[in-house]
Symmetry: C2
Subunit: 199 residues, 2 copies
DNA sequence: TGTAATTGATTATATATTCAATAAGTATAA
DNA sequence: TTATACTTATTGAATATATAATCAATTACA
């Protein structure tokens, strides 16, 4: 079993190595059981060194979330293709490749999202990221409407449902089997056909 | 500010009082910072008494989740009305009354769901609850199809998307403003009109 | 009398954080 | 090139605190 998460392939500098270690420790032990000691183990170097790069645990975790959400935002495909093709790509992103690393990444994100209920920094970062993604999707849908390919009332309203399904799948992945996810994907396709595409 | 969560109105017996206290402590401090001491504070009696009723913290939290999911399942409306009316009730349940207690309950559920990634007991309970809800929705959709009110290929597939939206809204509520939730609701209504109701 | 409720004190451990000390690396002046 | 100063990386030990869990003792109660 290898750890092949793309964006951590070759960390640049110690700080990024620490983020990588924190991410793996989070995946393995979960947020509630995440300790500096466990991060240090994953890091391979001493715990003290972590404090040389970060003031405290909080700062480290907020930095990790920032880093992860940056990756999420970068993963949103650029609108450099036809609206129809773009929607296909979005669907693939939402429902994922069902690879282990994808699923584990989603789980980590959801776990951090849950913390946003009690931490303003987390809340702010998720708000920013969610807004960004919704707007990106809305923009493409608007382009599709302009091109006559799509037919919707309000693109940002449609994008809002896209995003809810994205987050819902992330949360469901934790417990649901692949068959259920497949059902959701099929039904979402049906929605797109009937409610998005022009006749 | 009063705590008016319906199902905790009058706890029967000490165990239920402890569950109530645990729930409030969870809401206030979050799962990661949830300690027996804080539960004891909320409980109003000594921490030791908690150990008289529960073997350890784990047992208590699993029992809380079990209890909460029971409430969730009981909240799924009975199919004793017309399919069309039932769908309306389901939408209200999914998007909630936006009352504080509803939102806080959702947040607690999502936070516990995130733990399912690292705890088999949690995983099992959520699987059971999710299956139950999906099947309940699917049954009603099937009834609507039989009555000629609905027109879908596969009711359990449609129910799967309903459930994803339910969970997605729960997770989004943590950070999203009410306007965004309203957008999702409007789009979901559009979906139902175009993809569920017969012409 | 016996059973359940309740408490306070206690303990062992885990955890975040600090700190002084050392090693390694890098630029600079001779 | 070498010596010097300076910065950064790195560590192990130490500390204060928080936390889960235990338990013997006491109170309420049936």
């Amino acid at each position: 079993m290898t750890n092949e998460i793309s964006f951590f392939e070759n960390p640049e500098g110690t700080r990024e190595e620490i983020l990588e270690a924190t991410f793996y420790a989070l995946r393995q032990h979960g947020y509630a059981d995440l300790t500096i000691s466990k991060i240090g183990d994953e890091f391979g170097k001493s715990q003290s060194l972590i404090y040389h790069h970060y003031d405290d645990k909080d700062e480290l975790l907020v930095d990790l979330l920032d880093y992860m959400l940056e990756q999420v935002e970068n993963q949103v495909p650029l609108p450099n293709q036809s609206p129809e093709a773009y929607i296909e790509v979005i669907i693939d992103e939402i429902f994922g490749t069902s690879s282990n690393s994808d699923i584990e990444f989603s789980q980590a994100v959801i776990e951090l999202r849950a913390q946003a209920a009690h931490d303003d920094d987390y809340n702010r970062l998720f708000r920013r990221s969610d807004d960004f993604i919704r707007k990106q999707i809305a923009r493409v849908i608007q382009a599709g409407v302009d091109a006559g390919a799509f037919d919707v009332e309000d693109p940002s309203q449609t994008a809002a449902l896209f995003h809810t399904v994205l987050v819902g799948i992330q949360a469901e992945r934790i417990t649901s089997d692949e068959d259920t996810i497949d059902d959701v994907r099929a039904e979402f396709r049906r929605y797109i056909e009937h409610c998005l595409l022009s006749e």
